[in-house]
């Protein structure tokens, strides 16, 4: 018996080593199974909690009709545009605040103040200013992404040991080159952390914004069917949110982290 179990275990280890995606799918099997059992036992009415099969069917029909791909694209493009501007503005601002004492004195209280006014709290006034549209959504995403990026960049810049600045200076680096050669790479692990947080908050803010002001997107997909009481699409939307974040994390963020902080020994694996 023990032999058999060990053999199974080694099979399992080898299998997940060859196809790492199996290892990431495996934890979901019991969750889906439990969901399926609960719905089959009819503990809750079907209308309130549909089963996996119905969600898959709904997924199929929404893809077939072209609604899901279009909504998905809308959401991802919105997040990408927001994240781009958040990073493009956030990193330089973070470096300025991190390096310059005067900028820090002037801007730090403002940063903390405006960070506290959460993304969604801006929606009422943004809707009045810009209406129900892309501008409002983009402003909210940029606003959400920029704070974690700025604050983490400041932290990263300020955590660079002074000896690295000194080493670069005494090797002849000019102030401008120091930015590129020391400050940016030194702060990079923290910047990636900021980006990770920013995208996470941004993603949530996007869904919330789409629910409130959207006319398309995953958030809209989830909120629109409430009128017909169609829980299937709400569940489908929730599952898509989870899967999408998993993809962003494992295909974009984790590889960046492996190639930077972990490779350089600045972050423990």
């Amino acid at each position: 018996m023990k032999q058999f179990l060990l053999k199974m275990w080694s099979h399992c280890v080898r299998l997940t080593a060859r196809w790492p995606s199996i290892a990431s799918i495996a934890p979901f099997i019991p969750v889906v199974a439990a969901w399926w059992i609960v719905t089959e036992l009819q503990i809750f009415p079907r209308v309130f909690l549909p089963g996996p099969a119905e969600v898959v069917r709904s997924f199929g029909s929404l893809v077939y009709m072209g609604i899901l791909p279009a909504y998905l694209q809308d959401s991802i493009v919105r997040l990408a545009v927001g994240a781009f501007w958040g990073v493009a503005l956030g990193i330089p601002l973070g470096i300025l605040v991190g390096l310059n004492q005067r900028a820090r004195t002037a801007l730090w209280p403002l940063l903390l103040f405006f960070q506290a006014i959460g993304d969604i709290a801006w929606l009422p006034i943004l809707v009045i200013w810009f209406g129900y549209g892309l501008t409002t959504i983009t402003v909210v995403i940029v606003y959400t992404v920029i704070f974690p990026v700025v604050l983490n960049t400041v932290l990263g810049v300020r955590s660079i040991p002074i000896t690295l600045h000194r080493a670069a200076q005494s090797l002849g680096a000019s102030r401008i080159r120091m930015l590129w050669e020391v400050v940016l790479p030194g702060a990079l692990p923290n910047i990636v952390t900021g980006l990770r947080n920013g995208l996470g908050y941004g993603w949530r803010a996007l869904i919330a914004t789409e629910i409130i002001v959207g006319t398309s997107g995953i958030g809209f997909l989830m909120f629109d069917p409430r009128r017909s009481g169609s829980v299937v699409e709400i569940l489908l939307g929730m599952i898509i949110l989870g899967i999408l974040w998993y993809i962003v994390d494992s295909w974009i963020l984790a590889p960046i982290e492996r190639a930077t902080g972990q490779r350089w020994g600045l972050v423990t694996r």
């Binding site: 000896t163 670069a168 200076q169 790479p185």
Partner: protein, 252 residues
């Protein structure tokens, strides 16, 4: 490589906790000839690192003057290479790129600067490590990189701030022997800061003993080169010189 002149150097700063001015360095004068290896030795808090930081231009001096090849020091610059106790290698650059950093800042082309870097890596027996990142190396190897990174930029003066204080005793002896070998080959002007009397006598042409921010004495070391610990451990002259420096440092 050029000579270094320090005249009546002093450093006073305001200590906000005590509420008075504190003088870390008093009226220090020192002349280091081109190609000379000078060790500044003294206990913690004697101002030796402060002196080195002022020569490097990392902190301003409040009195006297520092001249490198006749030119006064104003801030850090590539004419004074620095080796740090904490190594201070760029973690995001490979060993080769770290060593090529100085030439890169001077605008030397990639092919050329990598050739220079390889040459210096070979000098420190680091050829195998060229493509690795600093975090993948042992402390001793990291500091070898630190030394050749500073040398590869061909500074007028090489400033070393307790560079071997954070490596183990055996590795330290090897590094000391290698440093004397490299010094004999390249003959840079070196100022080496340490609290270890034996290390100072082993490496230097001249040992400057420092205490409470003042120079106590200046002792010439006439031991023959090349130097090795095997030969010097039982050497009477080495023991005599070490004893003298130790007495000087402890008496103050």
């Amino acid at each position: 490589m050029k000579d270094l002149t320090i005249r009546n150097l002093s450093k006073t700063y305001f200590d906000p906790y005590v509420g008075t001015n504190v003088t870390a360095v008093h009226d220090v004068s020192l002349k280091v000839e081109q190609g000379e290896f000078v060790c500044i030795v003294g206990p913690s808090g004697c101002g030796k690192t402060t002196i080195l930081n002022m020569i490097a231009g990392f902190i301003p001096h409040t009195g006297g003057e520092i001249l490198v090849g006749g030119r006064p020091v104003k801030g850090p610059g590539p004419d004074r290479g620095v080796v740090f106790q904490s190594f201070a290698l760029f973690p995001w650059r490979t060993v080769l790129e770290n060593v090529a950093f100085g030439p890169k800042m001077r605008g030397v082309r990639k092919v050329e600067r990598e050739k220079i870097a390889h040459e210096y890596l070979a000098l420190a027996k680091l050829t195998e490590a060229a493509g690795r990142y600093p975090a993948e190396l042992s402390g001793g190897m990291q500091q070898r990189v630190g030394v050749v990174r500073a040398l590869a930029n061909e500074p007028d003066v090489l400033l070393m701030d307790e560079p071997f204080a954070s490596v183990d005793a055996q590795t330290r002896m090897t590094l000391q022997e290698e440093l004397t070998r490299i010094w004999q080959e390249k003959r840079p002007t070196v100022i080496f800061i340490t609290h270890d009397v034996a290390e100072a006598v082993f490496l230097a042409n001249r040992v400057v003993a420092l205490s409470k921010g003042r120079v106590l004495d200046d002792i010439a070391v006439d031991l023959p080169r090349p130097r090795s610990w095997d030969a010097l451990n039982d050497d009477a002259r080495f023991k005599e010189l070490s004893g003298r420096v130790l007495q000087l440092v402890r008496s103050a």
